[in-house]
Symmetry: C2
């Protein structure tokens, strides 16, 4: 897979100088990200696009090409493959094809199937691996490869460092929505590796999971799945990978109609959802219900240590959101609001204003809207230092009179004051929308994990806790 | 209540020239909104704030004052009330007090209770109604009253027209979060009337529901509730209001710990959640689970007609999101994906590319990523014209090559081509994040209701359907 994610030379067949075409956006994305290798647009009707000299055909390219991106109309596949055959006979350099275009076997028409067969004939003859067809492409934000034709609408300079999140999607549209959701965060987020696998004519979930299993820059794997033909192999690989790093899955086709739609879409036999559900549970795969939960959970895994257990303390500056969050925590059987020892309650009270509510109910503090930056931070320190506490949901609404940047910087300092092996997950819920974007920006850029509403923070906390329980169950088994 | 929402003269006691203080932000909000009446800041240590001449005391103000906003430190309540006593003896003009400050009876300290008693003594003596204490204030975006000290971080000029959504909240922090969530939408949203009722020392849910019941500019009422002392009266009023306009409630204290926290917070006896739940259901109140669902549902009620029934057609340009949405629809017993007659299926197919999936499963179309603007719009028209269809979820990811503004404008034209009494609710899910903000902006400003992910659209659709079923059940009862 190294040649897919970090190829020596990329050709883009169907590159275009028309900004309204996918073949233009793909080239522009690659240029914007600053891929350091050679990029060869291929289009017989152009001489140069975005400063790259254009080749008339694959065969004509003089330099080395390890990755070929196909983005031209699907009916041209015959001539492009003939051309690639000749190139491979001459030079034999191509290792991967990413076929981003649609209108192949997923249409279930004889024409579409024939086009896909033609693509695969060349691939098999020369041992070229194929991603797609019917996908939006591949991204590696470590080697700055981006073959997608997705415009996030966010200038590239405003993105943060690449995350440790790698993502695989069976649907191009869902993949692009996930890309966009990440880009729309307070600090726009770059995925580590990102693969839209489309029809899975060749490269599939299992291939990529096996690669990501040992990929050092991947901390957590996210998957959008409609179905997979070989459940037994998938289960085996998921079980193995899950012991090393978390796998978070959004699997659709829960309902009979949804399964029917999935079959019409990528031809997946979605299979009985309960079978998948049991398989995920047995193998420690974290299943999520919505796109929002998917991304929140992936970010929480990427940015925070795992909790030692399910004791989640709720530390809130605001009563209403605190009660709302208490309900959310109590709806998760994995989570408990811990009873702190009297000594900790006293220390906590000493850091707060007299009106603060300390531990009514247990596991809860409401430090009130009058809390200063120091009240916010020093109380959180006391809570985090208590051995009963495995994790904290921290809520603040940041009233106008609270200096938000000071608060953000103090929280960052607090997090950094803990030895890395003493860190606990803190789900920072900073609720006041656009107004608190500066504070959240400071926290996010420093590696903290922020949320906009408490329900989202609690779902992520539950999912980390679920995975931690799976891992510790396995460690016990292994120890026996 | 007219004197609360449209007072002749407003005094702000505790106004400040320090931008870090609540007393500054409240005055600035009023100035920014352009309240046309007289505004009198009161602060003995200032002569002028933001261009308004400052008075030393309430008594000193020469003009008429119908609304007094108290935002000064709570310990000053004694002298301020003494002063108000004298003003009322002289002029008797004040009709409402909004006591925004905290540190009153909610603290359950003797001092706090005494302060609240002092406030209420003057109020009762002169028949002045009180909102609060311990609230963030009151907004009326028709008369441009805004006594809150909340900074949304969004310039006022970018807000749309005032909506028909009025909102009541027992928690100031939750109220401010809801204000911020609205402000953070693609087109920032203004509430119609917005009241943070805090401790409910006087004005409470029932008073305000009775007012909003006949308030012409209120189309839908949203409530955040911790508890209410007189369940019988509340039920009666809710049942009556719900027959006229929808009431959407986020009620916390579902869990025992949450109820305990609510009691510590506003002193509400939350009562058994199941009792509230049954009361809401019987009275047609739509109960929601999250802040996001609350706002999505309020906006859907405000912007769209009610569906005639539960037949929800799913019209998607993207396979993965379509399947994901199918699952969401099938999880709601209120909704069905309708079987269209063959003639409609044929007409629909004629508007689409050959590869489109027409009604596999029933009630579903996937027009594919290659669909043009015309494919998007003409197919939707056919679906909306079918008598089987009560409502539509429309999903598009807007690929780079689809001109998004053209699509948005064509959808607006389509909506306007239906006679108002033939309109059906369409939940427009436009998924591609920041990239499609221009399209969503056009649609939102034209009154359409857009969502970012399908799960959110489906929850709103379910809630409208639930309310429509309640109403039609009542119409049947009334007819018998």
């Amino acid at each position: 897979m190294e040649h897919l994610f970090n190829p020596n030379g990329i050709a883009i067949v169907g590159a275009s100088s028309n900004p309204g075409k996918a073949g233009f956006v793909a080239l522009r994305n690659m240029k914007e990200k600053g891929y350091p290798g050679a990029v060869y647009p291929v289009n017989p009707r152009e001489t140069e696009i975005l400063g790259y000299p254009c080749s008339r055909s694959l065969r004509e390219i003089q330099g080395n090409v390890e990755l070929v991106v196909l983005i031209m109309p699907s009916k041209l596949i015959y001539s492009v493959m003939d051309d690639l055959d000749r190139r491979m006979e001459d030079r034999g350099d191509v290792r991967f094809i990413v076929c981003a275009a649609a209108d192949y076997a997923e249409t279930k028409t004889p024409e579409g199937c024939d086009r896909q067969a033609r693509l695969m004939a060349t691939a098999q003859r020369f041992g070229i691996r194929v991603v797609g067809p019917n996908c939006i492409g591949v991204i590696d934000n470590r080697s700055w490869v981006d073959t997608t034709f997705v415009d996030t609408g966010i200038p590239f300079s405003s993105f943060g460092e690449p995350s440790g999140i790698s993502f695989l999607s069976q649907s191009g549209a869902l993949a692009s929505a996930v890309l966009m959701e990440g880009a729309g965060r307070i600090v726009p987020m770059l995925y580590n590796k990102f693969v839209s696998i489309g029809n899975m004519a060749d490269v599939d979930f299992v291939d990529l999971l096996e690669y990501l299993e040992t990929d050092a820059s991947t901390r957590v794997i996210g998957i959008y799945m409609e179905g997979y033909r070989d459940g037994r192999t998938l289960a085996k690989v998921l079980g193995r990978v899950s012991r090393k790093k978390p796998v978070v899955v959004l699997k659709v086709g829960r309902s009979a109609s949804g399964a029917n739609a999935a079959n019409s879409h990528t031809g997946s036999m979605a299979g009985a959802d309960s079978v998948y559900d049991a398989m995920f549970r047995q193998n420690g795969v974290i299943r999520v219900d919505t796109i929002g939960e998917l991304i929140d959970t992936l970010r929480a895994f990427d940015r925070m240590p795992l909790p030692a257990g399910g004791n989640l303390f709720l530390y809130s500056q605001a009563g209403g959101p605190g009660i709302y969050c208490t309900d959310a925590i109590c709806s998760c059987p994995e989570l408990r609001m811990p009873v702190l020892p009297e000594s900790t309650k006293q220390r906590l009270a000493q850091t707060q204003l007299p009106m603060a509510n300390i531990c009514h109910p247990e596991g809860y503090a409401d430090i009130t809207a009058s809390a200063s930056v120091e009240n916010h931070v020093e109380g959180l320190r006391v809570v985090l230092e208590d051995r009963q506490v495995d994790a904290v949901v921290f809520i603040t609404v940041v009233p106008t009179f609270l200096p938000q940047k000071e608060l953000a910087e103090a929280l960052v300092r607090l997090e950094r004051s803990f030895r890395p092996d003493h860190r606990k997950p803190v789900y920072y819920c900073v609720m006041a929308g656009a107004y608190t974007a500066p504070a959240r920006g400071i926290m996010e850029r420093a590696g903290l994990c922020t949320f906009d509403t408490p329900d989202k923070a609690v779902l992520a906390a539950r999912n980390l806790c679920r995975y931690a329980a799976f891992l510790s169950g396995h460690r016990e088994e292994d120890a026996q």
